[in-house]
Symmetry: C2
Subunit: 773 residues, 2 copies
């Protein structure tokens, strides 16, 4: 068992590495040649010019202003300066709300830590079970255990203090959760209301359009919505299966990169034309002139792309049974998204269209039956992934104890027994081992979510986050506690009944406190500090800059700002909530470590969000119900484990008092769900109507149809006419900001109608243009 | 343990009592003076005249046509004759679909019984564990056990037959379930589509209207819907708190009954005016003339009622923050019911209005927070009810075994040991005891549901049914199995771990087969046969007929046709599904008993539905998802128990093969839920639009507003102007059936508008009348 000295050493190492990371960061970030790595967000917003244009040659690359080195930590207050509304404006609601998770951690745990240290620590410390046990049975206990619940006597009345505190912690956590849910919900509604016009406000994604032998998908969609939403339907865009096309475009881009590389190489060394082999990875095959080869390949690909594009547009088979249907008003779209269209609930499925950037195109055409089969497959696969992953972790965990290593490799004994190395192994290794295991996981989980068939990136990430959290809970939390102690107690544990499992876990929890403290330091302190360094983007940027970049636009593309990565980041935070809540009443010593994590992470991520990350999409904080739900889960787990722990401590008669807590917590959860969740799922008609009325009053002549016509085009098609597109968008933005100076007559500018009236006699509905106010 | 003889005796008794019930019924039902008891449905429909008007005096009361006594069983084929569509027309969809549950039982269990008897019975019977055990340990086993899984050797390969059969049973059950779900869903949609115009198609119940200091609830509702559903809003009716008024009216009716009674008494015996005491129950107090006293009391009450009516209508405090909002089209109502109205999801809650008869008026004004607190309270209360009810049952169960009685009362030993009485106790008593316990339960559960705040009778009954089922499962099923065997195995069971519980139950299941067989015979055979006799309504009718009835209308009111009672009937059927599925692979002997129940019950209830029951409401088979879900639950339970049983039988290595079953079943359930459930929850816009269009084409001049104006009036107000009402409805029906012969000009018949335009300047929306086609 680790002593305070071990923990002190681990803390020293981790603090040192965190400080080193910060120092390196402070130096690197003020070098002009790193500017695009550490401030890409501002470049993307067009608010920062490359510093390389002006000044002396050296100054372009190295910062020689030595005063700026003295202020090397001033990014920290700067990160805190930007007020929240401006942050929402600058980085979007998703990012701003994401930061609130850390803030919520502080809000929950600062009072809890205070209470735990003023009440529980004295209660634990003044008892003397461990001393007595040490005298009786020659067991050494550490100071850490003296502060924890382990030091309280069997059957002591002191446990009432812990129960009381469990109540206080629960109520405080629920209070903060409710407040935060309320604030985030109103932020979301505020955001949706003040937001400028976006195509997804008017648009609904329709899936599973039934096949019809007589009509094309496009006609079918048009007729259906003309009949069933006659006053609101505006236009629609069918979805093409452009997956193959996208693959070709990607391949062409890669070829282009290689061409750039060889051309740059040639321009630097004109004497020798670069050669290459055409075989696998350039290892064998015919030797050819690299530049010419790539030019011809690109040419071939361009032709292929043109052909494929032709095919996608014209071939009815490439049209998928899905469409983006746009309405004349937000009200119309809100109605269509929230209602069932057809008798058969698996046809004409409608849902809010995700933001155009957020659409995951590959999944739009999966039929209903296939979807539910996929769900089953993934559920089974995830089960196996979760429960068979435990075996290697258990193995490594057992190795990473001194005794384990000595048993496995006796010849290492002299080295291990050295005091410093022993402390290092005990304080540092288990955390790193675990961390390494988890690096490959998110990719697997993301592939699972994609296979399951979600249609937007945000949904994919949310689902992956849920899975990641479950995985973390089973493998990192339970795995570390149960199997760790299972190896301690040999196989006696396996034969225990399911009834006793909470007891066993409860018993093991105080023992595992030191392990989790080292984990927090490695993952939560040094890991977060390393995040700010952006090592991978830094290296890649400089490599690209050296080998590929020719123009300013290339340099723009070489930037890799990255994004928050909700699917990995959020479960990581949640793990700290879980640890904090479970250990709050058991080992209050852990709380300060967690507080430092939340504070540091808040600071670092606020800086990153302001200066670096560029969100791929904006979901309007749609993830908050998940966040809330997981904190509730952690709370319930902590209560159950406390119950188990108390029953092993001879305080079983207090069980009825503790069992009230999870019941109340579950009820609180359903209450919050009913009260706030719909703000994240539905779009109230009142809001929609208000915005519609306002907009109609402000811009009576808005041509919505042309605005929405091409909003949902596959990105492959968009790349081509990007410039036209931008121009077009610019014009629209312009239009929507300025008050129109001349009133156009509606009669002179008829809305282009693509309706092929009366091709089906059974739909006797005339087309009405929206009259306008 | 009961032997085949015991079961034979019990079967004999139950068959005999069933036959007696049927004979008595056959005689009673053809007596003219019982006509209104056994054919009330036809009277209510106006299709049957009282047979007492014509013929000789004796014939009015007693059937003297002896030939009709010979055909005493011909009600059975008659009950089966009416085809299903006609049944829907005659008794409503709820009743017709309710019958399908019995039919589904037959569909599921006939092939299962066939398979079990052709495959499992030979497999079980040809093994010889029990014989060997009997020789070795002097244990007597019965023939019943020889047919069950108990007879298969420990660790035998024969268990593969049982696993195979479990697969077959699961797939067959799921197949039938899916087919039925599909059929019922389409029946429901068909029913909703072909149904004639009903107010609830156009109406939405709005709850939690926020209080406003400046506007009344009525104005508030009007403004809100004029703004947010400008093209669809038609009218609304606020809800008054008339609970006190309803109580007064009820009291008056009771007084009127007593008055009738005394007047009738006086008219029969003119010599003596009836006297009564005014005190409690007429036991003490001043002696007064009963007729005069009641006349004056009724007078007083009438005045009070008039005052109260005045108050309810005029006092703003008696207006509850809820309203029935009607729309111009079904489309508008469907949209409003399925969408969220306001930012705050706890205000302006909209849901489909129940049918006017189906509204549970007392619960319309419960605010959101109170609702969720009530839910919590009821959940806890139900938990206690369920788990503390077990104690008395366990006690009685242990008494009702021979050994138990002998221990408790040794002096009874000589009587009990008599062969006949012993068989009687073992075969009959446990079932009756259990049945008695359950009689008082539905009332308690109904009160719970009412407290929980559901707004329609159908929802109240559905919720009660769910609770009843849970209760049955925990107390009757698990309670009989676990506690019964717990008393057998003394306290060793209590110390067992949760892990082993499925095993213990699995082990106990074959032992309890005979108990459940007797239960089926008492409850499912004799009980069902008794249902047809209608003892309680028969007695009450004749009492009322003798003491109160003066006019034909009184006689009408004296009829008590009753209704299906979904909240007690459905869980009872479900219990048979549970027994059938659990015992199908364990004790196939039980299946024929269950088949007889389903067949008999189908016959009896079909007769009752055609001739007797008068449904209080029509929910359009909204209960089917519950029915489906419970059969699924039973299926999963049966699979888990089979797993437990097999693991105690030395076939633990087959567990992976059995555990696939519940996973597949759960997946099947989610699949069905997604595929069919929405037909029972939502109203597809396509359907609504179709009906709207049709109606508009057929009746262009329909005055919908006057049709809907008074549809949702509290029944207390309705009683008064019942005649006007009926006349009004009649006129409407007339209108809607006839093709209009002259075209009325819309300008001449303006729709009466009660809209108080512009009282609030913030709602600048003009009122548009629906233009019509």
């Amino acid at each position: 068992m680790a002593t305070l000295t071990d923990i002190g050493l681990a803390a020293g190492i981790n603090i040192l590495s965190a400080v080193i990371f910060f120092l390196v960061f402070a130096i690197l970030r003020i070098q002009p040649f790193n500017d695009r790595v550490y401030f890409p967000k501002w470049y993307l917003k067009g608010l920062r010019e490359s510093p390389m244009h002006s000044g002396a040659f050296v100054r372009k690359f190295v910062n020689v202003d030595f005063r700026s080195y003295l202020r090397f930590l001033n990014w920290m207050p700067a990160a805190l300066k930007m007020p929240e509304p401006e942050l929402v404006e600058h980085a979007g609601l998703d990012s701003a709300v994401y930061l609130r998770i850390y803030l919520m951690g502080l809000k929950i745990f600062v009072p809890i830590a205070f209470l735990a240290w003023t009440i529980l620590v004295p209660v634990n410390y003044t008892d003397n079970t461990l001393e007595a046990a040490a005298k009786l049975r020659d067991i050494t206990s550490t100071n850490i255990d003296k502060l924890s619940i382990s030091n309280v006597e069997f059957g002591s009345q002191r446990f009432w203090a812990h129960i009381l505190m469990a109540y206080a912690f629960t109520f405080w956590t629920c209070y903060v959760l409710r407040k935060e849910y309320e604030i985030v919900a109103s932020m979301r509604l505020q955001f949706l209301a003040t937001e400028r016009r976006r195509p997804d406000q008017f648009t609904v994604l329709v899936r599973n359009v039934p096949p019809d032998p007589d009509e094309s998908v496009s006609e079918l969609v048009e007729h259906f919505f003309l009949v069933n939403h006659p006053d609101h339907y505006l236009t629609h865009q069918v979805v093409c299966n452009a997956n193959k096309l996208a693959k070709l475009v990607k391949k062409k881009k890669k070829m282009q990169n290689w061409l750039d590389y060889y051309q740059l190489k040639f321009s630097r060394n004109q004497s020798k034309r670069p050669l290459m082999k055409t075989g696998f990875l350039g290892l064998w095959g015919e030797k050819v002139d690299a530049i010419e080869y790539h030019i011809s390949e690109i040419d071939k690909l361009s032709k292929e792309i043109a052909l494929e594009k032709e095919r996608v547009v014209n071939d009815p088979k490439s049209i998928m049974p899905a469409a983006f249907v746009s309405f004349k008003t937000r009200w119309g779209a809100a109605v269509c998204a929230q209602t069932q269209q057809s008798r058969n609930p698996t046809l004409w499925l409608t849902e809010w269209a995700p933001e155009p950037r957020d659409v995951y195109w590959d999944n739009l055409a999966i039929p209903y039956v296939s979807l539910s089969v996929r769900k089953l497959i993934i559920a089974v696969a995830f089960f196996f992934l979760t429960f068979f992953f435990m075996i290697p972790i258990a193995f490594v965990q057992s190795l990473a104890s001194i005794e384990g290593i000595e048993k496995a490799a006796p010849f290492l004994k002299p080295i291990i027994e050295h005091k410093f190395i022993k402390s290092f192994i005990q304080g540092f290794l288990p955390g790193i081992v675990l961390k390494l295991f988890l690096i490959f996981l998110p990719t697997i989980l993301m592939i699972m979510s994609k296979f399951e068939g979600f249609t937007s990136l945000s949904a994919l990430e949310r689902r992956s986050a849920t899975r990641y959290y479950l995985f973390n809970f089973v493998n990192v939390f339970l795995g570390s506690i149960i199997i760790g102690s299972a190896f301690d107690q040999l196989k006696s544990f396996i034969k225990q009944s399911a009834n006793d499992i909470p007891k066993t876990i409860g018993e093991a929890i105080p023992i595992k406190a030191t392990f989790f403290i080292t984990y927090i330091m490695v993952d939560g302190w040094a890991g977060i500090a390393a995040e700010v360094l952006m090592v991978k983007p830094l290296i890649i940027y400089h490599l690209k800059n050296f080998f590929l970049v020719k123009t300013e636009k290339d340099r723009e593309e070489a930037m890799d700002p990255g994004s928050l990565g909700f699917h990995t980041g959020e479960p990581r935070i949640q793990f700290y909530f879980l640890l904090g809540l479970v250990y709050a009443a058991v080992t209050p010593l852990m709380l300060p470590f967690i507080l430092i994590f939340f504070g540091l992470a808040y600071l670092v991520y606020r800086h990153q969000i302001i200066n670096v990350y560029n969100q791929e999409y904006e979901s309007g904080a749609a993830f908050w119900p998940d966040v809330h739900g997981r904190v509730i889960t952690a709370l319930i787990i902590s209560q159950l484990l406390l119950m188990g722990l108390l029953s092993t401590k001879g305080a079983a008669d207090s069980t009825p008092f503790v069992i009230v807590l999870p019941i109340l917590t579950i009820w609180f959860h359903t209450f919050c769900k009913g009260r706030y969740e719909s703000a994240f799922v539905k779009y109230p008609l009142q809001e929609a109507m208000m915005k519609d009325t306002l907009e109609r009053a402000r811009e009576p002549n808005l041509n919505l149809k042309s605005y929405l016509q091409n909003a949902y085009v596959h990105p492959v098609f968009k790349d081509d006419d990007e410039e036209e597109e931008e121009e077009f968008n610019g014009k629209l933005d312009h239009e929507s900001v300025l008050v129109p100076t001349k009133r156009q007559s509606r009669r002179n500018t008829p809305v282009p109608s693509k309706i092929s009236g009366g091709s089906s006699p059974s739909f006797p509905v005339a087309i009405k243009e929206h009259p306008g106010p």
